[in-house]
């Protein structure tokens, strides 16, 4: 089993902690001039997303987590699982609701997502930074004010709700930044 010593600790390193894969966010070396050395680390549990702290004695070894990120195409959902495909190998994996999490509202078929695999199974699905989605519902009545100030809520085809400028209407495709859930622009017609 692969393992890492505390002197290999750095941001982004994937380790196993209490049976869950975790990613090191911050690693601080703590040592009295004459005394025991410690590594105080901030870690994200990749399954729960929870951030926790932990102190290790320097020199200890910790089991490595077999975790890697890969770009995969979102195919479809069947109500229980969301299916993704590796565009190079055509290999498919299914992600459960916990792995898809908040990303659900941005998933559009064919889009390329970043999937984090632990021992080959998806644990995190991240949508593309920008997605193009069609507005399925928004208040059509507000005209006159086209200055763009204020804005209104719009429901998108995936169910996500974002604030859009007043001039944007039902049926239009818009570009959204998924990190902030903010409207970027009208999408150009292809």
């Amino acid at each position: 089993m692969a393992s890492y010593s505390t002197s290999e600790f750095k941001g982004g390193l994937k380790i196993m902690l209490d049976g869950d894969p975790c990613s090191i966010i911050e690693n601080e070396f703590v040592k009295p001039g004459k005394g025991q050395a410690f590594n105080r680390v901030k870690i994200r549990n990749l399954k729960t997303g929870r951030v926790l702290e932990k102190t290790f004695k320097s020199g200890e070894s910790v089991e490595a987590a077999d975790v890697h990120e890969t770009d995969m195409q979102y195919l479809y959902a069947d109500g229980e699982f969301w299916y993704f495909m590796d565009p190079d190998t055509f290999e498919q994996v299914s992600a459960d609701k916990a792995a898809v999490g908040e990303s659900i509202k941005w998933l559009k078929e064919q889009d390329l997502c970043t999937v984090t695999l632990w021992n080959g199974a998806p644990i995190i699905v991240e949508p593309p930074k920008f997605v193009v989605l069609t507005i399925t519902d928004t208040d059509p009545g507000l005209k006159g004010d086209t200055s763009g100030s204020g804005g209104k809520p719009a429901t998108l085809e995936t169910g996500a709700v974002v604030r859009v400028p007043l001039f944007v209407q039902i049926g239009e495709a818009i570009k959204v930044d998924t990190r902030s859930a903010e409207y970027v622009s009208r999408a150009k017609e292809d």
Partner: protein
């Protein structure tokens, strides 16, 4: 460290200037105090036996050592400076580079600058006074001075007696104060648990508003300090903290050659038990103590950390011209 580093310095030009100015003011202070500046070898055939400090080594081959001999890079200039004291140097100071393997972080770097000085006739309290005068010479406005014994600090912040608590009580204290992961740490020495409590729970409070001196350490952490008999016996050792950061470590120095030898041997026994390399103890220091060293106090002060404090910089690497990743 295999990638070719960016050629540009780690530190800003302002920081490089701040260091130069700090060094000049330190030298002024000691010139006015009548303390002699000295230089001693960076490389020695003897190393430091302390099991919590690892030395870097290098090798010399040439006249006097045609087959080559291993040399230890100093982790502090303490031993040769004490030999100068024994030879009658009087008060001395040194500013030098020291080296410690395995130490890298916001407050640690494998090579760093140390200011070390010795005062014949001083005890650790008198030397704390001089450290405070030096610091106040270097700060914009004078800082308040707080002195806490090691016992008082543990009693005040953790309500535990560091001299009598057993290993389980120290562990419970760490777990109770939510040191993350303390419950799973495997450490069979009381001192390691005291280090955990001090570094995680007490240190952040020390020197919050001024200078805090911690003094009279457990005898088991005497290092090279004199142990004062009493209940319990304590090591006449001190540390200075500024803004939660350890800045200096000083001793009312051990003079007893036999006791010094026992501590070196004991360090190497602990090293053996922990699977660490054996280090040749400095026999020349023991000879100097046998010949007689004046009663004195000495202190080592981290110049880089002091510069961090004075400039408000939170990472030692940002005040080194080139940190180890660029060296």
């Amino acid at each position: 460290m295999t990638e070719k580093p960016d050629w540009r310095p780690s530190a800003s030009l302002e920081m490089i200037q701040a260091r130069a100015s700090l060094l000049a003011r330190i030298r002024d202070f000691f010139r006015q105090a009548g303390v002699l500046e000295v230089e001693t070898p960076v490389c020695s055939r003897f190393g430091v036996t302390d099991p919590t400090i690892e030395s870097l080594t290098t090798r010399y081959t040439g006249p006097t050592a045609p087959q080559g001999c291993d040399l230890y890079l100093q982790t502090s200039p303490e031993f040769p400076m004490k030999r100068l004291l024994a030879a009658g140097s009087g008060p001395i100071y040194q500013i030098c580079r020291v080296f410690r393997d395995g130490e890298l972080g916001r407050r640690h770097h494998p090579e760093f600058s140390l200011l070390e000085w010795y005062r014949p006739g001083f005890d650790h309290h008198a030397l704390m006074g001089e450290v405070a005068s030096l610091i106040n010479r270097l700060t914009q406005a004078p800082l308040t001075v707080e002195k806490l014994s090691y016992h008082e600090a543990f009693d005040h912040y953790l309500q535990i007696d560091p001299h009598t608590a057993n290993l389980e009580q120290l562990r419970d204290c760490a777990v109770g104060h939510e040191v993350a992961g303390a419950g799973e740490l495997i450490m069979d020495s009381r001192d390691a648990w005291l280090d955990l409590l001090l570094s995680h729970l007490i240190e952040p409070h020390l020197g919050e508003t001024g200078m805090t001196f911690l003094y009279d350490y457990p005898a088991s952490q005497a290092a090279l300090a004199k142990v004062r008999d009493g209940k319990p016996p304590v090591a006449e050792r001190f540390e200075l903290y500024l803004s939660g950061m350890e800045i200096a470590n000083g001793f009312h120095e051990l003079l007893d050659a036999g006791e010094q030898r026992r501590r070196f041997l004991d360090d190497n026994r602990r090293r053996a038990a922990e699977g660490l390399p054996q280090i040749p103890m400095d026999e020349t220091l023991i000879d100097a103590l046998v010949s007689g060293m004046p009663a004195c106090a000495g202190v080592a002060l981290g110049i880089d950390r002091l510069l961090m404090f004075l400039t408000g910089c939170n990472d030692i690497r940002k005040l080194l011209a080139f940190d180890i990743t660029k060296a």
